[in-house]
Amino acid sequence: MKTIPSRLVAVGIAILPAVLCLAILLISRGCGETVSYRSRETFAMDTILSFRLPDTVTEEQYQETLAQIKRLEEIFSRTVPDSVTSRFNRSESGMEITDPDFLALLSRSLEIAGQTGGAFDLTAGPLTEIWDITGENPEIPDESEIQTALTAVGYRKLTLQDGFLSKENSGVSLDFGGCAKGYICEAVLNQLKQLGVESGILSFGGNVGILGPLEGKSTCRVGIANPDSPEFAAGYLSVDRGFVSVSGDYERYFEADGNRYHHIFDPKTGRPAQSGVRSVAVWSEDGTLADALSTALFVMGVQGAQELYESGIYSFEAVFYLSDGSYYVTDGIRDRYEHVSDSFSREFGTE
């Protein structure tokens, strides 16, 4: 009977693991098909926009997305003199709205304002102006100045009927700063999807849009800034789609009398919101909702946010970092959140 030479057996044993590893490698990498990514950055919408997209996205396609952003910015911006927003803000009593994007975001904003009891309010622009948080020498406005500004604040002072948007008094103005970036991020993401782009990440100044996990990954790991030291992450959210938006008191603020005066205003008081929230990150499959709710939940605080979450009106998840040193994560995203911060060391509701 023939026997297998022992040298052949030894070589076979040695080579087997290597062959297995190679097989696993090829299978996991789609038999050699790999995607590489290119990062691009540009300034628009008064912020920086970052794109991490597959190399297959051509310069022409990228320029098309920038053109879309410019088009939408020129509709919603309150600093572009001829935008729909600026024209409405200059009007005495209102104007007819025909632009479909404007109508879509306006209707959505009014709806979210209503559902959040005005915590998100697209008429809060006068408060931003009198507080001038990012100005050279910001000061706390007089109470009378705040009360005057409040006469022009409140989403109920707007009425949209049969395509005509009217305002209660001539001072009422629109400011889409709390939701336009989310809306535009979603519009760009959909545009890229239509081009067949299946993975990549968009980051538009506090709003992240996920086309799909990067090559070789099952989720996208999103670092959320620690309000105490914003250059480091307090936690990580691992999600495979949708949008993540963040609002925090560390972004734009000034300090006076030992207090921090930040840029997220409570439309009811006319002052920076004091809800016990330092920052909140919201995940949703709807970009406009994620952006608007990050402001609304900051103003509402954890309890108000819990009520909205449990009502089921909107589908979202959220991570809060609170001024008492705790953090709170909604139930639906607990298994996708990793907490790494020592400064927010305990979960909300625990001692």
Binding site: P5, A18, V19, E136, A225, F232
Partner: protein
């Protein structure tokens, strides 16, 4: 019996097989561990308008940056971190950002249109950071 003993010693073909095994192992490691940490590779990417410059993050120094509209920034590189220590812009958000050291982190000065980003390094598993 003598013939079988001789077969136990390596022949040229065996060395070829060993070389193939080593090659496969090398490919395996290079593909699975492509970013085995070397923090000395971290660089600072400074984009001012269309101009882009790179600096070593581990070399302490001060860097002056001319931004748009006549705005200027002074950066301090120290102990593997970089921060904006002086800026002629109005809001000084870039100064308030503080020091950055991790790959992918940025300091942005909107009025000057300057973006300072850390690149390279130990391959953080973070895909995107929400500042």
């Amino acid at each position: 019996m003598t013939t079988r003993k001789k077969q136990m010693f390596p022949i040229v073909g065996d060395y070829v097989v060993y070389a193939v095994i080593l090659l496969i192992a090398a490919i395996f490691f290079s593909l699975f561990f492509p970013k085995a940490g070397d923090k000395s590779l971290r660089v600072i990417r400074i984009q001012s308008g269309e101009d882009v410059e790179y600096y070593d993050l581990n070399s302490d120094r001060e860097i002056s940056v001319d931004g748009e509209d006549g705005f200027t920034l002074t950066l301090s590189v120290s102990s593997g971190t970089v921060r904006v220590v002086q800026a002629s812009c109005r809001d000084h958000l870039c100064v308030k950002t503080g020091a950055i050291s991790e790959e992918g982190r940025s300091i942005i000065c909107l009025p000057a249109r300057v973006i300072i980003t850390i690149e390279g390094g130990d391959g953080s598993d973070e895909d995107v950071f929400l500042p």
